[in-house]
């Protein structure tokens, strides 16, 4: 080894970069391995090929059954509905419902006759009402005759219940001049006398089919009756139809064809892309752990990143293959089935979907499959065995499914707001592409692309982290036990929170805030009430759990709350930031308000709140709205929780997770979004400075300016109108755009300055390495570390 240390370092750098050849090698191996597995092949390829045709055949069978199945109908009161000379004076209809069949051939085949009843009259429905008489067997009895041997209604019900007939039509007495009123079941009717009872059983499919057919026959009969009656009375039939509606769909034919498919197909694809990613992911990580091959791989020259990329590629391939096979199988089957049945939603041309626009789906499938695959890989890495991996599928689905379902909701369209939601945005973008609205798609493409790539990079990063974590890869098979865990928490307290405790603290705060919010039923109408409404959650639900956990579960309040001193150069930058960030925050809040506007009701509900705030004494408002939230929220989020999450060298996790928790804690969506962005910035400051204190000052400055901007504007200091103006319409104070621009410039300069100052110091060490070292008190005893230091 004659390499100089510099060359060695270079070699190490080269060695740290994933090699494409190794990734390809890994990928081909995983693919071959999976393709040799019968279970995978079955779920990925065979199942979709079989599933949809089977379901399709089933649907066809049902359709045929509905159309062609012969039903048996009994008509009681044949004397009132036939063209019988005997009853000619009471029957006032023009055409009869039933016609007596002279020809024996034409009569319904005789089948079992109900007991105690003489043979029915051979009849069939009049040709004008039901032409395909082959699939209805009619049995007709005289009402007068039957009623002699018992109650008609009871008998009708018995016959339907005992499945003697699928449906019974009961006409008790001659129908009057008004024609029949169809009476289903035995509901009361006020059309005295003229009623037709229809008995059926909703629990029996056959009975329901029979009922549907009878209703349509009876309606047709009644219609013909009404028409004749009206023309007899000298009324023009056109009166009934004063105008016609000519509907005209202006959507291009392509859109019309695509409308149905552009909603359904992406959904099917995404759900399958998710499922298709998960099972291979479990096998490739948890399965390998279980079989012991993961350790073989880990001590091979393959880098962790190469392993992750190779596996990710394989999982992604399977995810896409599953999605494509399922979608195409469904497409082929359903277009065939729909053609056969001849139905489609809203009568649109359902046939084959337009294939060329559907290619856009493929383009969208690639990033989304990658996203799902990376998530699945990261989640599957937590499992120790395939079986355990299966349990993680549900939570992952529960998190991602709403994002897939959201675009399916009626009225969800592609706009600035929806384009920023991960997965949903991509889904809607594809839909507009499929429907041919290229301009709209192009407008939102940058947003969707940025959001998707950010999500993708986070997910892959997480997956990579999982593969670098010893506790994830070699987590011992220790049985978790509540008692042992509680003892462990107490006995092994450390100076700062562990990530688990940090997550726990965040969860406690968010859940407590949620229920706290539910407990507040109405807005208080005094300043004191408002003060209570802010103080209680801030102290009771945010600060108290934090302090409690910090005292109980850690040994040093100062370390766990990150109450570290900060040098004066940083303090000065932080002070400038505290003032200068506010215009940017206002700008951001304004933008968010435009994107996701607050409802007028919500604005109305907030109005008294604002009025009280603006009329209360300034100092108490500052205390209430700036000092208290700044201290409580910062100690919780950028202090205790941050301190736990930043450990194990995870700065990104700490910044992002605390920002999200901070955002969610604000409750109102619009506030949550701006607070999340603010949280990212505060998290970055906390990370760079290694302390919670700068965050408190910035948070305080921002809140204080928010509540006193109106007052400052009212002071009308000389020159102030150049900085702050009052909006003429909403009476809300706002910054002058030039001032906002300046603030942006100054803020960025401050942040860069802070970055450069902290780069020279070892506060970054402070975040993680030192915390861990202090806890394990290793460096004191370990002589080798001295060598490191020198």
């Amino acid at each position: 080894m004659s390499l100089s240390s510099k060359e060695k370092r270079k070699a190490a750098m080269r060695a740290g970069r994933p090699r494409f050849s190794a990734i390809r090698l890994m990928y081909t191996r995983e693919m071959r391995d999976q393709l040799r597995d019968r279970r995978t092949l079955f779920t990925i390829a065979v199942l979709p090929m079989l599933l949809y045709p089977l379901v399709g055949m089933l649907l066809l069978q049902i359709a045929q059954f509905t159309r062609q199945h012969t039903i048996s109908v009994c008509v009681i009161g044949v004397e009132h509905v036939t063209d019988d000379a005997e009853h000619a004076e009471t029957n006032t209809f023009v055409s009869p419902l039933l016609v007596t069949v002279e020809d024996e051939e034409e009569a319904s085949p005789s089948r079992l006759q109900p007991l105690g009843v003489s043979e029915s009259t051979p009849v069939r429905f009049s040709k004008t009402l039901w032409d395909s008489d082959s699939n209805i067997d009619v049995y007709a009895y005289s009402a007068a005759e039957l009623s002699r041997s018992g109650d008609l209604e009871e008998r009708a019900q018995d016959w339907v219940r005992d499945q003697v007939f699928d449906c019974v039509v009961c006409v008790r007495q001659p129908l009057g001049v008004n024609g029949p009123v169809i009476m289903q079941d035995n509901q009361e009717t006020d059309a005295a006398g003229a009623s037709v009872g229809l008995y059926y059983n909703v629990a029996s499919d056959q009975s329901m089919i029979a009922k549907d057919r009878m209703v349509s026959i009876l309606n047709r009969w009644r219609g013909s009756w009404v028409r004749t009656r009206l023309s007899d009375a000298g009324v023009e039939l056109s009166v009934l139809d004063p105008f016609k509606i000519n509907d005209c769909d202006i959507a291009p034919e392509r859109t019309r064809e695509a409308a149905f498919w552009s909603k359904l197909l992406p959904f099917i694809m995404l759900v399958w892309a998710m499922t298709g990613a998960f099972y291979p992911a479990i096998d490739l990580v948890a399965g390998e752990k279980e079989r012991g091959t993961l350790e073989t791989l880990l001590c091979s020259p393959a880098l962790r990143s190469e392993i992750v990329w190779g596996k990710l590629g394989a999982v992604m391939t399977f995810s896409m293959m599953t999605a494509l096979l399922n979608a195409s199988s469904m497409l082929v089957t359903s277009s065939f089935v729909f053609n056969q049945i001849g139905v489609g939603p809203a009568g649109s041309s359902m046939g084959a979907p337009p294939l060329i626009p559907m290619l856009w789906l493929l383009v969208a499938l690639i990033p989304l499959s990658a996203l799902f695959s990376a998530l699945a890989l990261a989640v599957a890495a937590m499992a120790r065995s395939s079986k355990e991996g299966q349990y993680y599928l549900m939570p992952l689905m529960m998190v991602t499914l709403p994002l897939v379902l959201l675009p399916m909701l009626p009225g969800t369209t592609l706009n600035l707001g929806t384009s920023l939601i991960p997965v949903t945005g991509m889904f809607l973008l594809v839909r507009s592409l499929v429907e041919g609205q290229h301009m709209e798609a192009l407008t939102y493409l940058p947003m969707v692309a940025v959001v998707t790539s950010v999500c993708l990079s986070l997910a892959t990063r997480w997956a990579k982290r999982q593969f670098e974590s010893e506790s994830v890869l070699f987590g011992d098979g220790d049985q978790w036990e509540l008692g042992a865990w509680m003892r462990h928490l107490w006995r092994d307290r450390q100076r700062a929170a562990t990530p688990t405790i940090a997550f726990g603290c965040g969860a406690v705060i968010l859940v407590a805030l949620f229920f706290g919010k539910l407990a507040v039923t109405e807005m208080p109408d005094t300043f004191g009430g408002i003060a209570k409404l802010i103080f209680l959650p801030q102290f009771g639900l945010i600060l108290a759990p934090t302090l409690l956990m910090a005292t109980m579960m850690t040994t040093s309040l100062r370390t766990s709350l990150r109450l570290n001193t900060v040098n004066w150069r940083i303090w000065s930058l932080v002070a400038v930031l505290a003032v200068m960030l506010h215009p940017l925050y206002m700008q951001l809040a304004g933008l968010i308000g435009q994107m996701y506007p607050l409802s007028p009701q919500a604005l109305e509900a907030m109005r008294p709140f604002g009025e009280h705030i603006s009329s209360a004494p300034w100092l108490s408002v500052i205390l209430l709205m700036a000092v208290v939230p700044a201290i409580c929220e910062e100690l919780a989020f950028r202090g205790f929780i941050f301190g736990g999450l930043v450990r194990n060298n995870s700065p990104v996790r700490a910044v992002l997770v605390t920002a999200f928790m901070f955002g969610i804690s604000h409750g109102v969506l619009q506030q949550s979004i701006s607070a999340t962005f603010m949280g990212i910035l505060l998290g970055w400051v906390a990370l760079r400075t290694g302390s919670v204190l700068p965050g408190i000052l910035i948070h305080f400055g921002n809140n204080a300016l928010s509540v006193s901007l109106g007052r400052i504007a009212e002071l009308q200091l000389p020159g102030m109108q150049n900085l702050i103006s009052v909006d003429a319409v909403s009476q809300a104070p706002q910054y002058h755009p030039i001032w906002t621009g300046c603030a942006l410039f100054v803020s960025v300069a401050c942040l860069i300055g802070m970055y450069r100052i902290t780069a020279d110091m070892d506060v970054m060490e402070n975040n993680d390495v030192l915390a861990d070292r202090i806890i394990s008190d290793q460096p004191v005893r370990d002589p080798s570390l001295k060598q490191y230091a020198s």
Partner: protein
């Protein structure tokens, strides 16, 4: 840090493996923060078999996992051929072959594919790879199950594939962690023969086991591990001389029990002080 390493490799070029004050702590639910490996130091030269002897849970596997870069040490340094296991893992992995009862082989790959795959991962060129494969398969007498998938192999076959997998890139350092565990006598004997051959070829070997006879017959130098610590180390003669005990098994147990007594007396003293 780099300067330290290059200095170390200059001073002691003969030491292929250097381990200094290696410590690994775990968070454990029952035992709390516990040291699986506690201040372990040793060195191994090329052409030498170094034996790690200890009961189950003594920390042997953890030491060897750290050496094979699968785990990171909590503190302390371990270098292989001058490369730090914590900071240059890729370089280290290029120089070691690791066989453990935890490093299984793929069920859905044949013996040939398995060894070929790891050779390719090492970036070997096709020519040298296939030459090496043929040689290894001959040497280890694996030709009859070349095309048998891992899932259908016997334990002995699997072990051979694992060894071939570890040897494919002809590494200077070989690490065997409880490699004879679960093997029948014949297969275990063959494995030990292979290991001796590797020593003759000038390789640097670490061999961990809990079977004393293996250590006695095979190892040039021995370290006895107990509860994460090395109680004593040296050649068999050194150890027997130092402890005046000719029977190795007796030596092992007397070492363990005297260590237990010592820790107990310390515990007792601490208790008294606490009172």
């Amino acid at each position: 840090m780099h300067s330290h390493q290059s200095a170390a490799s200059l001073v002691l070029p003969a030491h292929m493996i250097q381990v200094q004050h290696l410590t690994k702590t775990y968070e454990d639910l029952r035992r709390g923060r516990f040291r699986a490996v506690d201040q372990v130091s040793f060195t191994v030269r090329p052409g030498e078999i170094f034996g790690l002897l200890g009961a189950n849970g003594a920390g042997k596997t953890t030491v060897l996992r750290i050496l094979s870069t699968v785990l990171r040490p909590t503190s302390g340094i371990a270098t292989i051929d001058g490369y730090d296991v914590a900071h240059e893992p890729a370089e280290v992995r290029r120089r070691i072959g690791f066989v453990s009862n935890n490093t299984a082989i793929y069920d859905r790959m044949t013996a040939w594919e398995m060894v070929e795959y790891f050779g390719q991962l090492h970036g070997m060129t096709n020519d040298s790879l296939y030459q090496r494969l043929e040689k290894l398969f001959d040497q280890l007498r694996m030709n009859e199950f070349r095309d048998v998938p891992g899932g259908k192999m016997s334990t002995g076959m699997r072990q051979k594939v694992s060894i071939a997998r570890a040897l494919v890139h002809d590494p200077p350092v070989l690490i065997f962690d409880e490699a004879t565990l679960g093997l029948d006598v014949l297969v275990a004997r063959n494995l030990l023969a292979v290991i001796r051959e590797l020593r003759e070829a000038g390789k640097c070997l670490i061999f961990s086991t809990h079977i004393m006879s293996e250590v006695e017959r095979l190892c040039d130098r021995i370290a006895i591990m107990h509860k994460g610590r090395i109680l004593d180390s040296g050649t068999l003669d050194e150890l027997t001389g130092r402890h005046q005990e000719t029977d190795f098994e007796e030596l092992f147990f007397s070492l363990l029990s005297s260590h237990e007594d010592a820790t107990h007396t310390i515990d007792a003293k601490e208790m008294e002080v606490a009172r």
